[in-house]
Symmetry: C2
Subunit: 293 residues, 2 copies
Amino acid sequence: MEFPQYDVLIIGCGPAGLSAAVNVTIRNKKTVVYGGEFCSPKLSKAPHINNYLGFWDVSGEELRQKYLKHVEELGIKIEYNKIENIYPMGNSFNVVSKGNMLMCTAIVLAVGVQNPKYLPGEEELLGKGVGYCATCDGPLYKGKKVGVIGYSREAEEDVNFLADLAGEVVYLPLYEGLGNIKESVQVAKEKPKSLLGKEKLQALETEGETLELDGLFIIRETVPPAKLLPGLKIERNSIWVDRKLATNIKGVFAAGDCTGAPYQLAKAVGEGAIAGLSAVSYVDQLNKAEVKV
Amino acid sequence: MEFPQYDVLIIGCGPAGLSAAVNVTIRNKKTVVYGGEFCSPKLSKAPHINNYLGFWDVSGEELRQKYLKHVEELGIKIEYNKIENIYPMGNSFNVVSKGNMLMCTAIVLAVGVQNPKYLPGEEELLGKGVGYCATCDGPLYKGKKVGVIGYSREAEEDVNFLADLAGEVVYLPLYEGLGNIKESVQVAKEKPKSLLGKEKLQALETEGETLELDGLFIIRETVPPAKLLPGLKIERNSIWVDRKLATNIKGVFAAGDCTGAPYQLAKAVGEGAIAGLSAVSYVDQLNKAEVKV
């Protein structure tokens, strides 16, 4: 099976991600942008923007449209889909998104501010019965009892996928307006409190009860970058980068709000450009090295 | 005598300087931009710019006009004048520009790429008979023999100032089209080769002769930042900055091409915004500390 291959995968379709995409494309590298359903709700909601040089007294939505138009003019593809897992493979990455695979040489993380409130026990039990990717790890729980905590309606797809696979599924939706859930799923409208277990997950404690579980999936709108890429250096809640916007992981760059304050458009666009160009240099250097060998 | 006082002095009126000015002004800090006669000739000459997000297939001159308009809308003052000397004074800076003084709390250097070709002996003899600021050091040479090397017509003002002061002035213009030079000035149309002297300047060697001099002024279009601010950390020909765009000197920030590659508009504008906001934070912190005392 052939997977689509890209030079640079960009995660996030806000100003930083789009700026990276523009710069990568102009340098003739193959790229794709993965983003949420709606690119930059934060920008869209800004009533007046006065400090993005060249645009005076413009609304966030107006700028957002111009940004999307710019990207469209360059023929850049935006996939409105979530990246669920990244596997570093030496000089490239295998990336999973909703059950599909792609390969890329470099990655730009432009995922915006990430402040997930982890549940007590969550970080300790990750990979020990707790996971973020139902597509990836669901098959481990054939015939067993799993829980799913969903932060947005997106999670329902995972819930239904697991319903066909696991023996029993308990779903805790943390949003209003439940969608189309398979009948076999037991919906618990309780808030999760903490995860129990030492070497392995044993139960999820909610406000009302203690659910014994074999596995638990926690589906947030985006997977926290440090969970997508284990070992990614985080400093004061932001992704650590150097002046070239390189993270501590070879081939991975970051830009925009996810690298820290100031949370400003101009900073995001500027960093996106630098991160994109740094990713291009990285790809070029690898290609040169491979030709030599 | 009262000197004008600013919160943030911005040196350079290219994209980085203007972006800094916009951000400082929006945060209600008093600022002034010092720039060359023409803001960003480099931007003006770019035929097509495709990678400044939001503007697709725009000419450099078009963008330049939009940038200047933006700054004008905010009532930001641009002084088309050169900064000649900066004196750190604890929690503020005294700044000299063409014989005028101003005071400021913070500085943003946005001076563009700086690659001055120093003359052999120049760096060693700086402050030992060699200077960049005729207004500052001219009075030291009353009745003596001084030379002036001028890289642009701007230097003629300094030459005429020195003509009234020094005993003898030799002028080496390194540009085409000599302007209005006082009669007493001896114009030498020779290229300078090197500066002679050990503890003190003794002579200037040109292609044709050896001129014995008491003092020599070298007037480039801008004074290299490391000469304006002795002790400023330079790394690989660029001003060293941290992620907040702070230099190694307290209260001094830098942005744009002068901080190194990539030499891109989006980078300059982004860094200008960050440097401007960092300067604002610095001013606020100082003010808070002073109130406490």
